[in-house]
Structures are given as structure tokens and as C-alpha cells.
């Protein structure tokens, strides 16, 4: 079976030669959820934007982004416009500012529908807007409101409604809950989970918050310095990370009630690497607590690390692990 989305050896280099994504491959089946975790500068947002070809001019993108086997990167502008929103939609990071402040929210959602289905009548569009608002839990009388009249959580719901306006099959959610309070975050996550089940949506969930991903996604991929360094079923990855970076990241989210974390915050020395100045060999080696003598020179690719799991670390290589 062809996966809904298949990314093959994607490289993204910004103008000026900054490599943001350095060879990423991943598959997403219809109706599946995949979490993409990473810190600032890891390339996760760039990857999400590359899938929709939303990157600035002058950015070099190579590899393939196959949507039902058709390469998004090779699509003509007309075809791309049709695919965006109807097959592939995105909820942006910093979404609270991405609504038009001087247009009523119902009109903003209606506009997206009309653009893709110009033959719909006014009443039908209005009906669809009401349905969408209902779907995300906003009373349809709020369609007449402007964004500033809504709370942060409601605006995030509107953006999700907007992304769903043309019934996409794949939703890319880039830090959809980062600016929200914990309780509102839980509301939005539950909504996304419910929509994913009801509509059979595939969701690519991008965030720095590994613990959130582990709770909402079936599979998890962890990015560092423009590459995926670990991938697998999210529960397994979070509970027993194979890559030292994932281990450190998982430890950075304390388990409340677990004495191991009490009065014992855990982090990593150093900072995420600057994509303009990546270390040689394994890019994680300068911060790695388990680095071996060969790590500064040996750049490891993803390697099987257990059932249905991959990790890019020489510690999982046979022979090294037993040593």
C-alpha cells in the first residue's frame, strides 16, 4: 500500500547556504498520527513548511514529497493550489496572529471554502462555516466576531476550523498549543484527537514538547540538527529512548511524583547547534554524555534499534552495544 505521505531524502538549504533539513525520510499512512519533536533550529518547522512548499524564494529543496505517490515538489502552480488545503492543510505556529484582525471569523473561513469550491452558493457556504465552527466547539453565532473578541484558545480552534475548511486528508499542526495554557492546551489536544478519529485525518504534529507528542501520537520522530535521530512507536520512544539526545530530552520533562526527578532537574550542557556551524561527525557529539572516541568523525545514519524502531547513534550498532 502506498502511504498517504512519503518524504524521501528531503534536503532544505536556505539562501546563503544554511542547511536546515539534511536528508529526512518519513512515511505517514492515511489516518495515522506522527509526532515530530525537536528543539529550536532542529529543522522541524522548515520540514513542515517544505511539505506545502511554503518556503521563501531562493531556498534549495531536493528530494521527494510524495502525496499519494505524486511529488508535491514537482507540481505545477495550479495543481499545487488545488492540493493545498484540499489534501494538505497546516495550522501554523504563532497562530494567534495569523488571523486577519479586520475580518469576521466566519468570513475568513467562508473565503477559504469559496476559493476552492467557487460553485457553492452563499447559503451553502454559510452552512459549512457553521458546521466547521460546531466541529471545533465554537457556537456559530461567534461567526460574526472579530479575532480580538475571541480568547486564545478560541482563536486556535478557529484556525483548526480554517485548516479543515476544505476537508484535507493530512493536517500539519506546527506547535498548535504552544502559546496556550495547560487547560486550554488539553482542550485543543482533545479536539485534534477527536477530529483525527472522526474524520480519519492523518496528522503530522510538530512541537518541541516531547511529552505532549507521546500522549497524542502513535509514532514519534525526533529531529536534531536537520535530521531524524530516532523514530518509533511513541510510547516506546518516550519510555525507553535509544538515542542519548532523546534520553536527555525525555528526562527534561519530569514525571510528577517520580522521586528520580524530585529536586533534580535534568538537562544537557551546551545548546542546540547553530545550523550555520554544525559540528563534524555525529552533530550531537559535543553535548553527548555517552560519546565515544569515533563520534567526532563518524556520522551515523538511522539504524534499526529494536522492533519497529530506528536510531542514529553508534551505540545501537551491533558490536558497539555489547562492548
Amino acid at each position: 500500500m502506498t502511504p498517504l505521505l512519503s518524504v524521501r531524502d528531503l534536503h532544505v538549504t536556505y539562501a546563503g547556504g544554511v542547511p536546515a533539513v539534511r536528508g529526512v525520510s518519513l512515511d505517514l499512512e492515511a489516518g495515522e498520527t506522527l509526532g515530530l519533536a525537536g528543539e529550536s533550529g532542529s529543522g522541524k518547522t522548515t520540514l513542515g513548511h517544505a511539505l506545502l512548499r511554503l518556503l521563501p524564494r531562493g531556498t534549495a529543496v531536493t528530494g521527494e514529497v510524495l502525496l499519494d505517490g505524486e511529488d508535491v515538489l514537482a507540481m505545477k502552480p495550479g495543481r499545487l493550489r488545488a492540493v493545498r488545503w484540499t489534501d494538505l492543510a497546516i495550522v501554523f505556529q504563532g497562530a494567534l496572529h495569523s488571523l486577519n484582525p479586520v475580518q469576521r471569523i466566519g468570513a475568513q473561513i467562508g473565503e477559504a471554502i469559496e476559493l476552492h469550491e467557487p460553485r457553492l452558493g452563499r447559503g451553502e457556504v454559510r452552512g459549512r462555516v457553521a458546521e466547521l465552527l460546531d466541529l471545533v466547539g465554537i457556537p456559530d453565532r461567534r461567526a460574526e466576531d472579530y479575532p480580538h473578541q475571541l480568547s486564545g484558545g478560541q482563536r486556535q480552534r478557529v484556525l483548526i476550523a480554517l485548516a479543515l475548511a476544505c476537508k484535507p486528508r493530512l493536517l500539519i499542526a506546527d506547535e498548535p498549543t504552544t502559546a496556550l495554557d495547560v487547560m486550554v492546551q488539553a482542550q485543543v489536544l482533545r479536539l485534534l484527537d477527536q477530529l483525527q478519529r472522526e474524520l480519519g485525518l492523518a496528522v503530522l504534529f510538530i512541537t518541541h514538547d516531547l511529552s505532549t507528542l507521546a500522549s497524542v501520537c502513535r509514532r514519534l520522530a525526533v529531529m536534531y540538527a536537520g535530521r531524524i535521530v530516532e523514530e518509533g512507536p511513541s510510547h516506546d520512544v518516550f519510555a525507553a529512548p535509544a538515542h542519548p539526545y532523546t534520553q536527555a530530552l525525555a528526562a527534561a520533562f519530569p514525571v510528577i511524583g517520580d522521586p528520580a526527578f524530585r529536586m533534580n532537574p535534568s538537562g544537557l550542557p551546551g545548546d542546540p547547534p547553530d545550523p550555520r556551524d554544525l559540528p563534524g561527525g555525529c552533530p550531537f557529539h559535543p553535548r553527548c554524555p555517552k560519546a565515544l572516541a569515533e563520534c567526532p568523525t563518524l556520522d551515523v545514519e538511522l539504524w534499526p534499534a529494536g522492533p519497529d524502531r530506528l536510531a542514529a547513534c553508534c551505540l545501537v550498532l551491533p558490536g558497539v552495544r555489547s562492548a
Binding site: 528543539e39 495547560v182 487547560m183 482533545r190 511529552s211 510528577i256 529536586m263
Partner: protein, 329 residues
């Protein structure tokens, strides 16, 4: 023993754009002891930042008082200056808290110049940077904020606060703008400062995991009021207020609990509900549990005080807890 900081009946209000009084801090009693880390936890709009700003003297209370080492803080410029040397604030965003045109040396030395600490300026700056983990300090003197990483910037901000040897650090979301892998290192630094210098820390945060990581005690704030406080182990182990229980249940790291997702968002502080301010969102009230206990009338009409909970060192402002001494987690 006299606590280092004591808030008594503190109230701070603002006029919103409709001219209504928003009671951001609505009657708060709280103490911070010497060498203690207290986490003040709550969602945005609960008044926790206003409370922090009032403690450091950036807002004036409408009623109640802030007492420091047993004395009310003075209102004269001189008294405030002396007070601010003892109480330093660390803001959320280190990039915004540092002047981009000032070198790191200047940023840290500024506190010494304004507050007039004792000793040679250069030695004080070097010691503060070293303590904050920026070693060797001389290497950082000539750098500008943009030349160091986000984690290092927050270390500079902390060094700038610690350089005048305060007794209390008020840190407002000190790590929320930092990457996860860097966050632990900064929290580690804060704990080390407490051990090495005896400073007390009031850390304002929405993050219960952070409290578990570094706080001795936790106070939970909802709509301008402390609704529960206790030691971190007690409060996060067995919350006695339904709001705390709900907050704890939605933390992904505490996934053992059945999530209780409250509907809506924190109400407007200009329209604080009558009775218990939490009752319109309270799961115990909504599920009929309050009615079963025969207290639903009280929930609607009587504002519960923060009272000691039976068989624990905790205090909670909940009619149900007063009856049963337990809230299902």
C-alpha cells in the same frame, strides 16, 4: 521564626478599558521562608505575574501589605531602593530583559552601580558570572547578548540579579522561553544558588513539572486568590482543591490520572463569580457531587477561605474539602 517575605490580605486592581475594576490580586496571604523555593502556579490571567510585580515594588497594592523580614516595606524612594537591593526579579524573556547594546559586563555591573553593592565592581561581576555558570567570566565581559545562546542569556540575567546579593529572587517563568534540553540546566543553577547563597526563590510558573523539579512548597492561584498551598510532595501527591486536581490531571507527564478537562478559560477578573470563584468550572459542582454533599448552595453563595485541611499540612479553599478532606484525583 519570622518569614523572609509575608503578604497579608494583598489586593491589586486595574481599571480595564471599560472602566471596570479588574481584581487581579484579590486577597492573598502568603509567606516565603529563608532559603525556600516557593512555586506560585496558575494559568495566564490568574494574577500571578501581578502578584510578583507587587512583591518587587513595581505595582502598588490597593489594600493589604507586603512585609519583608517582619517589617512592612516603606513607600519612600530610599526605603524602596534598599528593598530592591534585597529583592531581585528575573523576567521571563532573557532577550527582552537585556539591553542589546550593552555588553554582558555592563549588564551585570549596572546592578552594582545602581544598587551600590560593597566590594570591587569587577570582582563582583566576575563572581556573579562564575556563579551563574559563565566561565571563565572574562571571556563573557565584552560579548553582546546576541553573541550568546538563549540559555546563556538567561544566565546573564540571573547573574545580574544575584550580583547585589539579594535575599529573595522573584523569577517569572524563568525557563518557559528556553529549549527543553537547556531548561534543566537553568533550574539546576537556581537550586545551586539556593544551596550556595541561601537566597529564597519565588518562582512564578504555569508548569507543575517545574515545581516538582525545584520547589519546596507550591501555592496554586486561581482568579486572584490562592486556592491551595502545601509542600510540593503533599500538594502534587494528593491535591485537595478540585482546581489543582484538574491542573495536575492534564499534565502529560502525570498521565496516570483520568484527565479532567475543564471547559472554558479562566474568567475575567472584572467579573469574579459569586460564592466560590471556581464553582462555574468545578467538576465536583458540575457532576452533582457538591449537591450530594449538601454544599452546592454554599458553593454558589459563600466565598471559601483558605483553611487547613484535616490530616495534612495543606490549606485549601474549597467547601467540599472542608467536608470530606479529600478531592478525588
Amino acid at each position: 521564626m519570622t518569614p523572609l517575605l509575608e503578604l497579608r490580605g494583598l489586593e491589586v486592581g486595574f481599571r480595564n478599558r471599560h472602566g471596570e475594576l479588574a481584581r487581579a490580586v484579590d486577597g492573598v496571604d502568603l509567606t516565603v521562608d529563608h532559603g525556600e523555593v516557593l512555586a506560585l502556579v496558575g494559568e495566564s490571567g490568574c494574577g500571578k505575574t501581578t502578584l510578583a510585580r507587587t512583591i518587587v515594588g513595581l505595582e502598588r497594592p490597593d489594600a493589604g501589605e507586603v512585609r519583608f523580614e517582619g517589617e512592612p516595606i516603606g513607600r519612600s524612594a530610599r526605603a524602596l531602593r534598599a528593598y530592591r537591593r534585597r529583592v531581585q526579579m528575573v523576567f521571563q524573556d532573557p532577550s527582552g530583559a537585556l539591553n542589546p547594546r550593552q555588553t554582558i559586563y555592563e549588564a551585570v555591573a549596572e546592578g552594582v552601580r545602581i544598587q551600590g553593592a560593597e566590594g570591587s565592581e569587577e570582582q563582583l561581576v566576575a563572581e556573579a558570572l562564575r556563579r551563574a555558570g559563565l566561565r571563565p567570566p572574562e571571556r563573557f565581559y565584552p560579548l553582546y547578548p546576541y553573541e550568546v545562546s538563549g540559555g546563556q542569556r538567561q544566565r546573564v540575567v540571573i547573574a545580574g540579579a544575584m550580583v547585589v546579593k539579594p535575599s529573595l529572587l522573584v523569577a517569572d517563568e524563568p525557563v518557559s522561553s528556553l529549549d527543553a534540553s537547556v531548561r534543566g540546566e537553568i533550574l539546576h543553577l537556581m537550586l545551586r544558588l539556593v544551596h550556595e547563597t541561601g537566597v529564597s526563590i519565588l518562582v512564578v510558573t504555569h508548569d507543575l513539572g517545574l515545581a516538582w523539579n525545584i520547589a519546596d512548597r507550591v501555592a496554586v492561584m486561581y482568579l486572584g486568590r490562592i486556592v491551595e498551598q502545601g509542600t510540593t510532595e503533599e500538594l502534587l501527591g494528593a491535591p485537595r482543591h478540585p482546581y489543582t486536581a484538574a491542573l495536575l490531571s492534564v499534565v502529560p507527564e502525570a498521565a496516570r490520572l483520568e484527565p479532567q478537562i475543564l471547559t472554558g478559560e479562566t474568567p475575567d477578573p472584572a467579573r469574579i463569580p459569586a460564592g466560590c470563584r471556581f464553582h462555574p468550572r468545578c467538576p465536583l459542582y458540575a457532576s452533582g457531587e457538591a449537591a450530594r454533599l449538601g454544599i452546592d448552595e454554599r458553593c454558589r453563595t459563600v466565598d471559601p477561605a483558605l483553611a487547613p485541611v484535616r490530616d495534612s499540612g495543606q490549606r485549601a479553599a474549597c467547601h467540599a474539602t472542608a467536608v470530606t478532606a479529600a478531592v478525588a484525583g
